[in-house]
């Protein structure tokens, strides 16, 4: 066992290669979302609602783009490739305490839950914000004209409440990344920055990735920009 392990490490050192794991749109959308949520958080807490609205539209765009990319994007971006059933999730969870498990190329079964949870929460918070009414009547959400003042105030409070839930889930996400780094010795942050992951030759064969063409991203960006614009004017043209 020990010698097999040593042998594998030796061959990994001798014969390893960088494989792409996250394409440019996935990385771009991930870090834009980090910045967007940061800006929304700060402007929300400090009642700078003019900028809060703009950053909110940016987040709506990012989330819609990520959902679109989850349908037509590169293989590791697609929901069909990483969202698993309960059995796969439980199987993966039962090996979580072990350090010698193979490194998933893309999202692992458990991480997929966190991705779906975070995307849904971000979308829910944004949608609540679209209908939220600001008490000063200065910068209410663009769709607030479809609700009454009182309903809009309640939605503003729900917007705040669900954002706090989202923060907890983001905290869990960060804790998981740190856990993988410290305990499993797997750096998940690097690949999210440069898009590549070092794999040994044996693994390289079945960890290949299908890259989606960038024009697909551009087409989606045009359509989703139009949708976000329509939302931002409350569908009144």
């Amino acid at each position: 066992m020990a010698s097999a392990e040593a042998g594998r490490m030796e061959s990994a050192l001798a014969d390893s290669t960088d494989l792409r794991v996250w394409d440019l749109p996935v990385r771009l959308l991930h870090w834009l979302l980090v910045i967007g949520i940061g800006v929304c958080w700060w402007t929300g807490v400090h009642n700078e609602l003019e900028y809060h609205l703009w950053s909110g539209y940016a987040i709506l765009w990012i989330v819609l783009m990520r959902l679109y990319w989850g349908l037509v994007g590169s293989s590791t971006a697609r929901f069909v490739n990483f969202v698993r059933g309960p059995k796969a999730i439980l199987d993966y969870a039962s090996t979580l305490h072990r350090r010698d498990t193979p490194h998933a190329h893309g999202h692992n079964a458990l991480g997929a839950i966190s991705i779906i949870l975070m995307l849904s929460l971000v979308l829910a918070v944004v949608v609540l914000g679209l209908f939220a009414v600001d008490v000063d009547g200065l910068y209410s959400g663009p769709l607030s004209l479809y609700v009454t003042f009182k309903q809009g105030r309640h939605l503003a409070h729900s917007h705040y409440y669900w954002f706090n839930i989202l923060l907890w889930v983001i905290g869990l996400h960060l804790a998981a990344v740190i856990f993988y780094f410290l305990y499993k010795r797997q750096n998940l942050i690097g690949p999210m920055i440069h898009g590549k992951r070092r794999v040994d030759a044996a693994e390289a064969a079945d960890a290949d990735m299908m890259i989606a063409p960038l024009w697909r991203f551009v087409i989606g960006a045009v359509i989703i920009t139009a949708i976000v614009y329509a939302v931002s004017v409350g569908f009144y043209f």
């Binding site: 009642n47 009414v133 008490v135 000063d136 009547g137 200065l138 910068y139 209410s140 663009p142 607030s144 004209l145 009454t148 003042f149 009182k150 809009g152 105030r153 309640h154 503003a156 409070h157 705040y160 004017v233 409350g234 009144y236």
Partner: protein
């Protein structure tokens, strides 16, 4: 059953009188201000929203929406400073987001309140002039006047909690 009922009644009576004594200590006239002032400020917010919705739609209904709501805001704003008598803050023990700073820095508070009255009066004139661009600019000016006071004299907890019905 009846013994339990009497005991409950006794407890209820004690609690009621206990609360009544506490409230008396805080000043019933000041406490009585809190709820109506919240309702009136909320009405002003509702009126502001109604006008802003017209601006968003781009088809402004002056006679049925903008003019009456601008009138409401102007009328209410005239009484704004009367709603905050000394002693009607958190010391009442009632739920209020009015900060003690209102009475500690009362000159500044009064100045901001008067600024709102000025903007509300201007809004009323703009509504009667039926000028869409002027309305948009004046709603922003009024909103900023409201916000200036809220930023300094309303507890940030306001955003965290659901206001009462």
């Amino acid at each position: 059953m009846s013994a339990l009922g009497i005991r409950r009644l006794a407890v209820a009576v004690c609690v009621t009188f206990g609360l009544a004594v506490l409230e008396a200590a805080a000043g019933p006239a000041e406490i009585a201000q809190i709820k109506p002032r919240q309702d009136k400020l909320r009405d002003m917010g509702g009126a502001q929203k109604a006008i802003n919705d017209e601006i968003k739609k781009g088809r402004i209904d002056w006679d049925n929406t903008v003019i009456p709501n601008a009138q409401t805001i102007k009328d209410r704003s005239a009484y704004l400073l009367n709603w905050f008598p000394k002693g009607s803050g958190p010391e009442t023990g009632k739920k209020t987001y009015a900060l003690p700073a209102i009475w500690q820095k009362n000159d500044d508070f009064v100045k901001l309140g008067k600024a709102v009255q000025g903007e509300a009066a201007k809004l009323n004139q703009v509504a009667l002039s039926k000028d869409g661009n002027a309305l948009k600019a004046q709603m922003e000016a009024l909103g900023k006047a409201c916000k200036a006071c809220h930023d300094s004299y309303r507890s940030p907890d306001y955003e965290k909690e659901n206001e009462d019905e």
